[in-house]
């Protein structure tokens, strides 16, 4: 059984239909990559899963439970974390406050915090700094760290490499590989090389529909398919 099953999801934003029926299955474990052009509906898909837009009709089943019309906060409590495209950092809060906010109890689990500091040493160095003063890469690290400070079954990550320096992209890939050993990641990515290095399964969204789904290995080998779905971006 898949961890997350999205069936025929249609989402309107205002009067504009953005998703026209998105369906895909995310198996447990590893990194699942959603590819697609700008404006294809990838971000809307993530937001609809998270309950930040309400899809109608359509269903989202997570761990065998229908979460389609649940409140965002309850969806989060079921074990889904969200790392939005703009990172959603609380700039006036310190790095530690950002992290502690994301814990359920209001206290750090020492072991988990130590693991996060090991993955992202900058977050330990700047723990008392206000988050707005961090660099773009550090903010991205903080946003990801916030998603794993509690044990989660699934993390939705929206374009984490956007605007980051190549060296940081490499570090990010390392971190994701490490995280993916214990947690499933649903990754929206434009950077195909980054996506290929991480993804096990993948789907392509275009114009609010899934137009291709399969293993990353097969997709990476088929340049004709890449051209068809991603244009020249590959």
């Amino acid at each position: 059984m898949s961890l997350l099953s999205v069936q025929d999801m249609k989402t309107d934003i205002g009067q504009y239909a953005v998703l026209h029926g998105v369906s895909f299955e995310v198996p447990e474990g590893g990194v699942f990559v959603l590819l697609g052009r700008n404006g294809a509906g990838k971000t809307t898909t993530l937001r609809s899963i998270m309950g930040l837009w309400t899809p109608s009709p359509g269903s989202v089943v997570f761990n065998g439970q229908d979460i389609t019309r649940m409140h965002t906060a309850d969806i989060a409590r079921k074990g889904i974390a969200y790392v939005p495209e703009n990172m959603g950092i609380f700039g006036t809060l310190t790095v530690d406050e950002n992290l502690i906010l994301a814990t359920e109890s209001g206290r750090f689990d020492k072991a988990r915090l130590a693991r996060i500091h090991e993955l992202f040493p900058a977050l330990e160095r700047f723990r008392d700094k206000q988050a707005w003063s961090l660099s773009g890469g550090q903010k991205q690290m903080l946003s990801v760290a916030r998603a794993i400070i509690e044990p989660r079954a699934l993390i939705l990550i929206d374009e984490p490499t956007k605007g980051l320096a190549p060296s940081i992209v490499g570090a990010m890939a390392e971190a994701f590989r490490e995280i993916a050993q214990t947690t499933t990641i649903l990754l929206v990515e434009q950077n195909f090389n980054f996506a290929r290095s991480l993804g096990r399964d993948m789907a392509v969204i275009d114009d609010g529909r899934v137009v291709h789904a399969g293993s990353m290995e097969a997709f990476a080998a088929d340049t004709a398919l890449q051209d068809k779905h991603l244009g020249l971006s590959a």
Binding site: A73, G91, L93, L101
Partner: protein, 330 residues
């Protein structure tokens, strides 16, 4: 110029504005004793305005909800506490410091409790159905304000209602040639105490952390697993209770109140939050103190300009900083 700006920023930035206003007023007024009296009156007024405005500002920051009916809580707070004080007239008149204080405490508690209950009712019945729809929000809260004001008129009538004051808050302290009205000092102290409490709650507790984060990015707080809407009811109730307390204190300050008190103060409260910047209590305090000081200084120097002075202040500040002096980061 830029070095001047950075130096100013280091020693407090916009927080220096009230001091600058006070200094200019000192030169214009000339007589130090009048200046001290006016400054204390301004600070007291500022603190009461802060209580009335803080809820409005936080509620807007957290949920993007602007409540045009907020002044109803101020009016009700004033009338509820005045009624309690009238009912406890015996205690108030008694020659006992403790009974006096008890009567005042009872009146304030009644106002606060009323604010909590009315706030809960207002949030669930009036505001909840129109989240995220500013036009209907403005219209509905205006409608609620009309109904609230008419209800007060029906209950308490249109004639001015006199408000009892405990004996120990009457009169003034005379220090040299400076006289300080005791009630003003009391209002300032109580307001300052509430500000400190609010500040500590917002900056030292987990709830406060959630509120600050929610003001900045509500969606993200929800995506981390917290029901901001439930938090919001709490903040709304707290804001209403503070407004009611502000109204109760204002009633004692004015000693004669009419049902239009709320709508008259509403304008000033709006100016306070616009000047201060929506969403932060520090900004609201700054705006409130500025407005309080300006109102008293200008009221002394050029009485006819008193209300217009706030407007001019607001225009000047908006031209300089379109989002107010210290808005919450969005």
């Amino acid at each position: 110029m830029s070095t001047l700006t950075t130096t100013l920023g280091r020693i407090g930035g916009v927080n220096l504005l009230p001091f600058a206003v006070a200094a200019v007023a000192f030169l214009l007024i000339g007589a130090p004793s009048s200046w001290v009296t006016l400054t204390i009156a301004g600070l007291a007024m500022g603190m009461m305005l802060f209580l009335m405005a803080s809820g409005l500002s936080l509620v807007f920051g957290l949920m993007d909800v602007l409540n045009f009916g907020h002044s109803a809580f101020v009016s009700f707070g004033a009338f509820v506490s005045a009624t309690v004080l009238a009912g406890l007239g015996g205690w108030l008149a008694a020659d006992s410091w403790a009974l006096n204080a008890l009567a005042l405490a009872a009146a304030y508690l009644a106002a606060i409790s009323f604010g909590l209950v009315a706030g809960w009712f207002f949030e669930t019945v009036i505001i909840r159905p129109v989240y995220r729809d500013h036009l209907r929000q403005i219209l509905i809260t205006i409608g609620a304000m009309i109904v609230a004001e008419q209800t007060i008129l029906a209950f308490w009538g249109g004639t001015p209602f006199s408000v009892g004051r405990p004996h120990f808050l009457e009169g003034s302290w005379i220090i040299g040639d400076v006289s300080i009205e005791i009630y003003r000092a009391f209002a300032f102290a109580l307001g300052a105490a509430v500000f400190v409490m609010l500040y500590l709650v917002l900056n030292r507790t987990r709830i406060g952390l959630l509120i600050r984060a929610g003001v900045e990015n509500r969606e993200m707080v929800e995506a981390l697993g917290f029901r901001v809407d439930r938090l919001f009811i709490g903040v709304f109730m707290l804001g209403s209770a503070l407004a009611a307390l502000g109204g109760a204190m204002w009633a004692g300050y004015e000693t004669l109140i009419t049902p239009h008190l709320g709508s008259e103060l509403m304008i000033v409260v709006f100016i306070v939050v616009i000047i201060g910047g929506l969403g932060s209590i520090e900004g609201t305090l700054l705006g409130a103190i500025l407005v309080g000081l300006m109102a008293n200084y200008v009221g002394f120097l050029a009485p006819k300009l008193a209300l217009a002075s706030n407007m001019i202040l607001m225009v000047a500040i908006l031209l300089w900083r379109p989002n107010g002096l210290r808005p919450a980061v969005k």
